[in-house]
């Protein structure tokens, strides 16, 4: 074939030159709510994510070290931890990006109960997801063809911009309002509510809006912006919540404007009452 012969043989990568010194100091939280940091040294490598460091500690130093991961490519949102004070997905965080003077400190995410070491209990996070009304309810069934939806429609685009959430809880962990106010539903749940509210196929728009703007809802957000800043997939819950606030205010001024929009035949889905 007529392939132009490449000039260099060496792989061109963005990998850091060297992490001097060639070892990395790691402090890892061990224990549950009560616990302490333990220190380890692992070899520093060119291709090394924070998850790799944790894995190395588990494999070579601390066999019973607890942490969570699954996909290792940034789609499952299982591996998030607090790294040098910042919540991050660890499978997609290169050590060079976060190490300070050849050291990193790894803790579980904030704002969730701890199970053991680096794993925390995400149940509350997901319960709030439901409380925010972030669940689709359609009127069409599998017997019908999919609805025609104009991809350029502004509402569709608003939903599109916010939908690829991997539910990693990084935003939830970064938001101080979540720490200060137990009832606050948090950025991820409200972000999801925003996508359904913008989904023209969604039959229970009013219900979702009521849940997302009511108790614990969007009004509690003080635009700290940490969610937007730290979301690993570049979603801006801040924007989604701002959108909900706008709707909240509008529906406050123009009472029940939306109620009429919910198709009369909206399935009540009584059986779907949150368990």
């Amino acid at each position: 074939m007529h392939a132009p012969a490449p000039k260099t043989l060496a792989p061109k990568t963005l990998a850091p030159k060297t992490l001097a010194p060639k070892t990395l100091k790691v402090r890892i939280w061990r224990g549950r709510e009560e616990g302490s940091f333990c220190s380890y040294e692992v070899p520093a490598r060119d291709n090394q994510t924070v998850l790799d460091v944790v894995t190395e500690v588990q494999r070579r130093h601390e066999p019973a070290l607890a942490y969570r991961f699954a996909c290792r490519v940034g789609v499952c949102g299982s591996c998030a931890m607090t790294v040098n004070g910042v919540p991050r997905w660890t499978c997609r965080t290169h050590v060079a990006k976060v190490a300070e003077a050849g050291a990193i400190t790894i803790e579980p995410l904030r704002n969730m109960p701890r199970i053991k070491d680096l794993a925390c209990d995400m149940r509350g996070f997901f319960d709030k997801w439901q409380k925010a009304g972030g669940r689709f309810s359609g009127t069409a069934t599998r017997a019908e063809p999919p609805a025609k939806v104009d991809p350029a429609n502004p509402r569709r685009r608003a939903a599109d911009a916010a939908i690829e959430c991997i539910n990693c809880a990084v935003c939830y962990s970064a938001c101080d309002v979540v720490s200060w106010n137990e009832a606050y539903l948090g950025p991820a749940a409200l972000n999801r509510a925003w996508t359904v509210v913008n989904d023209e196929r969604h039959a229970l728009r009013r219900t979702t809006l009521d849940l997302a703007t009511g108790e614990g809802g969007c009004g509690n957000c003080h635009t700290q912006g940490s969610c937007m800043r730290h979301c690993p997939v570049g979603i801006s819950p801040t924007e989604s919540i701002a959108g909900l606030k706008r709707m909240s205010l509008l529906s406050f001024l123009v009472r029940d404007r939306d109620a009429a929009e919910a198709p009369a035949g909206a399935r009540a889905e009584a059986e779907e009452a949150p368990a």
Binding site: N47, A64, G138
Partner: protein
Amino acid sequence: MQVERLKTDILILGSGGAGLFAALHAKKANPDLSVTVATKGLLGKCGCTRMVQGGYNVALAPGDSVERHFMDTIVGGKWLPRQDLAWQLCVTSVERIRELENELGCFFDRNPDGTLHQKAFAGQSFDRTVHKGDLTGIEIINRLMEKVWALNVGRLEEHRAIELVPAADGSGIAGVLLVDIRTGAYRLVQAKAVLLGTGAGPTMYLYHTPSGDKSCDGLALALRYGLALRDMEMVQFHPTGLLGGPDTRMTGTVLEEGLRGAGGYLLNGEGERFMAAYDAAGERATRDVVSRAIYAEMRAGRTTPMGGVYIEMAHLGPENVARRFPGMVKRCADCGFDLAGGRVEVVPTAHYMMGGVEFEMDGSTASPGLYAAGEDCGGVHGANRLGGNGVGNSTVYGGIAGDSMAAFVARQSAFRDPDESVVEAAIARAERPFALPRGDLMGLRELLWQDMWDDVGILRTAEGLRRGRQKIAGHQASLAATGLADGDRAFNLTWHDWLNLESLLSISDVIALAAEARQDSRGAHFREDFPETGELATSAYTRIRADGEALELEMVPVDFSIVRPGQSLIEETAGAPPVAAE
């Protein structure tokens, strides 16, 4: 050892497309049933359904047809699929995608006219892959997860199934023994019906794509339970897995197929493009062809520093590449690789297992009450799986199994009594490593990875396979002598690594045996000593069953129940020409 006991009408193992669809359908069929999902990670946040990038095959568009989709599946599967299963997949995919869109709220990409966008995917004669950007799996699983949370479904998250427990009287399945990963406690869940939806996952190879929680547990349990596994030699390799060295979990993860489709170059260690020497389609040849070519280059020693080949996109213009493949470029950049402007080392990587548990049209298996769906099952894809038929398989058959289990439970009013001797034996198995002196578990796993890669991998020979089986047997003996240092059972990942390795070893042996038995090359299976595809009309598939410690193999003739080799349901040739995605 204390065992906590629970009862539920339906117990579902796994929370991928198969498990969650089963839960949803069972609960819809009868809301009064108690349904419980047990899964190794968090509900919906583990397994591979979430990782689906390409999308979901379905014959929706004018000009396409179920017949065409079916013929592509059969031809792609080299006439090995069980045809009624493949047919049902193609038919029900249409209903399932509508259910996903209309009832679950999946937000698939649209054409400008508002209809579903369907893209091209390798090996198919029509553009029929429905998708949501290149993160289709997240959309599907998130919507499923939300629905299942809202139903009153029991959740045993971070619970690992370690034994399928038969009824004491042999009348079927009685329940499943699990380990609560968080506490290390044992739980026996009795159920009238059980679904096996643990997603197989060929993670016994040096390079592999699936999520870390998958280790062929379901297959190992099924084998031990006495079920037959078919087509186990059929392991699909994806040609371009990221190669980042042995100490990073990134190694093996998929770089998408579209990169080659768009005109990306594959270069060997000497910097030369080599694909033209193997196939006229060059880099755009099908997955299996490209995987074999890369492997051949590697074996010939023309490798990159880390032992693979390069993928290079820069000639298409780095900005252009970054715009067209933002997800891939960012993923590489996060981990220190410059995909848009430089070269990235890649290697073929074990991706999907076409083989698995033999099951029926309604999802049932040979044991009353035990159902199976998704990647744990064999028969739907035959010798090769079309990209986009994997998630179709798990969601279609998961839903069907859910319906069937609800109907089965309605007929079956009583719980069966578990065979307590099996429970005791299973706990003893799981406890073994704590009584043994600490060994090098990691080293053992690496040996298995390397041996499977070398001897039971992309290019196979009788001699290599025989050697492979011997080594596997040796590793099994080593594992039986390898203990764990820390006695803490709570969230002890090293214990679970041990259990994972046990499952992987048992299934590795099955793969090697099946590969030895198949003395021709077809689909994902390539025998250098039998490079030709055997006569299609007399095709047979491998069926393996455990008899105590030994494995029994049978070659079973394929029943061409719908179409015979040489015939077609449609006028033009289906499945041809197979081109890589894009």
